[in-house]
Symmetry: C2
């Protein structure tokens, strides 16, 4: 993973000249000033851990598994939001961890948490490092370690009768998928971060993949969990569903490392689909297209993948930068992907076509669907290229009930456009419906603008405006990115003071020293553990 951007550095390509010209003409994008620093030139703050602390941790995980060198610390600094990238490219490492600890077992995680609780060292669980909401950036905290779970990367077992697999948290998604595919199974979980994200992170942050309509969200897939906390272990999940009290799995899912470290995840698995068919449909407007995908979500047949771009996103053809000049009014593109037994795929595709035609859709054939599928993991690379070219690019997302979706769409677009125009960097705001349910859908916004003088500041204000708009319009502050530190204040409004108090009560019980991911997720906690030191 590129320390200052996304993924494999070899895969990011400079933007084609026509795109650069368009960005300049349309958004006033100017070439970036100084190029990013080289990794070797990035300085990290003086570490705040005593030698004794490091020795104690090394006694638990083994000598080679506590790292305090600058490169390890830089590589575990924050996540992959655009703000994270802009800051790290500028050499800003104020919230670098003081050390990186790599446990190998559940018991080692438990022991590290106990040692850190005793020593008042904060702990930030670190899987793929792909958070885009500040989930790896503890706030206002003193000494902390990144607890990198990469050594816990096994497929522990596969149960072909129950169709479940026990996975360790540090396993990256492609490795999980490869191991399952060998046995004829798939997780079916393909978020945009797929190539670099971890199983534990998917669970901790309630990831949702591009094929969620077919395979479910990650939180739907999890049937059992093991969690290490400073106060002991939670083992949850004896059946797919239960009436034995509240579903405590659902208290751990989405807990973003603030309640404990997920050390084992049992997920349901599906047979590798025999056939896949991806296709595009055109609708005259986003509203017409939304009504059509709602029909599929409510009455079926539901494809595995179902997405609908708004007019702007359709025009820009985000997945293919070379198409950015195709500015003719293209209506709205929907992408459908069917997966399963060949006969079922054909049947469901025909049934869906009837529904979409009746709703005003025009079939565009396999081309747009297959193009989307080829580029499905490329957008973060494109962001790197845009940053290099002096543009700012970021995404945010929400979800709501269908009735609230149109007003939510207008409110967020309006907020982003208004705020960034006010900053002197008027944006292009694109949106797509990325996940659908019978009762609602998620909206995923992409913003591109010139970087301007202070892109981090511009975005902070625009993002704040968008978050206000989301909460005011009745949406949830995140459908699949999570809360982190970035969304915490709006999350507090979403769940109300008593909801926040409940989370604090749980936190106090499992993490009384408050060492776990301080400042992440939980609204209104008192100051983190070691700020007085």
């Amino acid at each position: 993973m590129l320390w200052s951007g996304w993924g494999d550095p070899g895969r990011a390509a400079p933007l084609p000249e026509p795109v650069v010209a368009l960005l300049r003409d349309l958004l006033g994008v100017r070439p970036a000033g100084a190029p990013p620093l080289a990794l070797a030139d990035v300085e990290v703050p003086e570490p705040r851990l005593a030698a004794d602390d490091l020795t104690a941790l090394a006694r638990i995980v083994g000598d080679g598994h506590v790292r305090a060198d600058a490169e390890s610390r830089v590589r575990h600094t924050r996540g992959k939001s655009t703000t994270d990238l802009l800051r790290i490219r500028a050499g800003e490492t104020s919230d670098a961890p003081d050390a990186v600890v790599l446990p190998g077992t559940h018991d080692e995680v438990l022991a590290v948490l106990r040692a850190c609780a005793g020593r008042r060292i904060a702990v930030v669980p670190f899987g793929g490092g792909t958070s885009v909401v500040g989930g790896l950036a503890p706030s206002g905290v003193g000494a902390f370690v990144a607890l990198d779970l990469r050594r816990m990367d096994a497929v522990v077992s596969v149960d072909e009768v129950s169709r479940t697999a026990v996975l360790q948290p540090g396993l990256l998604a492609p490795a999980a998928e490869a191991a399952l595919t060998e046995r004829g199974y798939t997780l079916g979980h393909f978020p945009q971060s797929y190539e670099w994200a971890s199983i534990g992170g998917f669970a901790a942050a309630r990831s949702s993949g591009q094929a969620s309509a077919g395979y479910g969200r990650f939180d739907d897939m999890v049937v059992a969990l093991t969690v290490a906390t400073p106060e002991g272990t939670l083992e949850l999940g004896r059946a797919p569903k239960s009436a034995a009290g509240p579903d405590l799995r659902q208290l751990v899912l989405g807990s973003e490392g603030a309640f404990g470290v997920i050390t084992s995840v049992t997920v349901r698995i599906c047979p590798v689909p025999e056939a896949k068919a991806y296709e595009g449909w055109r609708f005259a407007s986003f509203g017409e297209g939304a009504a059509a995908v709602r029909r599929l979500a409510q009455d079926g047949p539901l494809p595995a993948v179902l997405r609908l771009s708004d007019e702007t996103e359709t025009m820009v053809g985000l997945a293919d930068p070379s198409a950015i000049e195709r500015l003719a009014a293209a209506g709205c593109l929907a992408v459908l992907g069917f997966e399963g037994a060949a006969e079922r795929v054909a049947e469901r595709r025909a049934l869906a076509a009837d529904v979409l035609r009746a709703a005003g859709g025009e079939p565009l054939g396999a081309g747009p669907g297959e193009k989307w599928e080829r580029g499905r993991f490329d957008a973060p690379y494109l962001r790197d290229s845009l940053l290099d070219a002096g543009a700012f690019a970021e995404t945010l997302e929400t979800a709501a009930f269908w009735t609230d979706v149109p007003a939510l769409y207008d409110a967020v677009r309006g907020a982003l456009t208004g705020a960034l125009s006010g900053e002197g960097t008027p944006p292009l705001v694109m949106c797509h419906i990325s996940h659908v349910y019978p009762s609602g859908a998620s909206l995923y916004f992409t913003v591109v603008s010139a970087q301007g003088e202070d892109p981090v500041g511009h975005w902070a204000r625009a993002k704040r405006a968008a978050c206000e708009a989301i909460v005011d319009a009745g949406g949830t502050i995140s459908h699949h990115h999570g809360v982190g530190t970035d969304h915490r204040d709006w999350y507090a409004r979403e769940i109300g003071p008593l909801g926040a108090a409940v989370l604090r009560a749980v936190k106090d019980r499992v993490d009384p020293s408050g060492i776990l991911n301080p400042g992440v997720l939980i609204p209104g906690l008192a100051s983190p553990p070691n700020t007085e030191e």
Copy 2:
């Protein structure tokens, strides 16, 4: 609702003579001794509430809505487990509430909770009163009121775009269904308690209906909730799914009144199905049938209803007492119900038939399916008849991952047979798979035996043996009945000491006086609020 049994007294019929003879010959059932008391002859304990308490409560809910008469108290004593019925039939009213309070609004519920917290009066939320796990029988508590929600019985709104409805908690299921059907919708939620159970109870106890394969469990249907607690209100759910932290809805669902009183439930609704087709299939053995229904659960097509009786239950033909003598080896009966658009029903039925035939199934046509559908809510009436005839009849249920299902089945059957035989009342133990998932299934056991000398004591010991067997075999202590007081000790083992501690932390935060349903659900709480008085 019959105070000493189930439902409409007019619908319970004496058992036919051949059945009585069979029960006598097979299980040693002898006519019951004394008939149940008349309601007017049932005495209740001296009320423990002061006049001032009743006045304060009446000031909140209005004069006619606080009831302390004997009949109201008897009608709110415990629930509808067989033990509950045996005790109330004998005039045993030791845990009758001291009064019944009927709030009309969310704000009245809030005010009642605050008043009761201040006065250390425990509160037992009461919907349909159909708990079979001691959910309405607080343990070791002093003065308490039943908070009967029957006045909060409105369909507040129906959103045809989002396909959701906002329902009040005291609404009974048939009234909800009637109101929705008028507009072309259904909840699709038909548990055996359907005719008498409430919306709030479904949510608080994670009910699962007989058509759960098609429409989901009740906890799947709930998209938003409002909860009144002594510490304020929780409003949860802004979208079908969210990555904004833990899913707090899933902390309220299954909380059985211990965290608060659910005052509003937003559920997803479905169009009334155009067609329904119920049918029976025969399998040579429970194992063969289980493999077949697992195929449908994992690879589809999944019917709306999917059940499989074991050999004993199939023989007894529980839904039709007149068939009880048909003791020829009948194999195992599966009932499938398809619902939806006529064309889809036909298609799915044909596809399912292919799967079941390949798995060794023999089609029995519509007859057994339709017979099952006709009698689907009758079993509780049959229980009343059995009790009247001197037999004991009770049910319990669990769920597990598919791999664990065979051993769980053997263990629970063995435990029940062994324990009741040891009591001198050897039972008939029947079982069916009642709900299926891709990764597992629930097992629903029905036990019939002679009442013997002390049926309450016999059953307490047999139930304890069954609960031990469930937990030891890796099952959950309840798939859809809930925890109540009856399952609390095994629930503690299921979630472990840290899980229990988390629940206590939540409880302490929302109900610091511990007035809400004391003794229900939460393991290991200190003594309830007013026991020292």
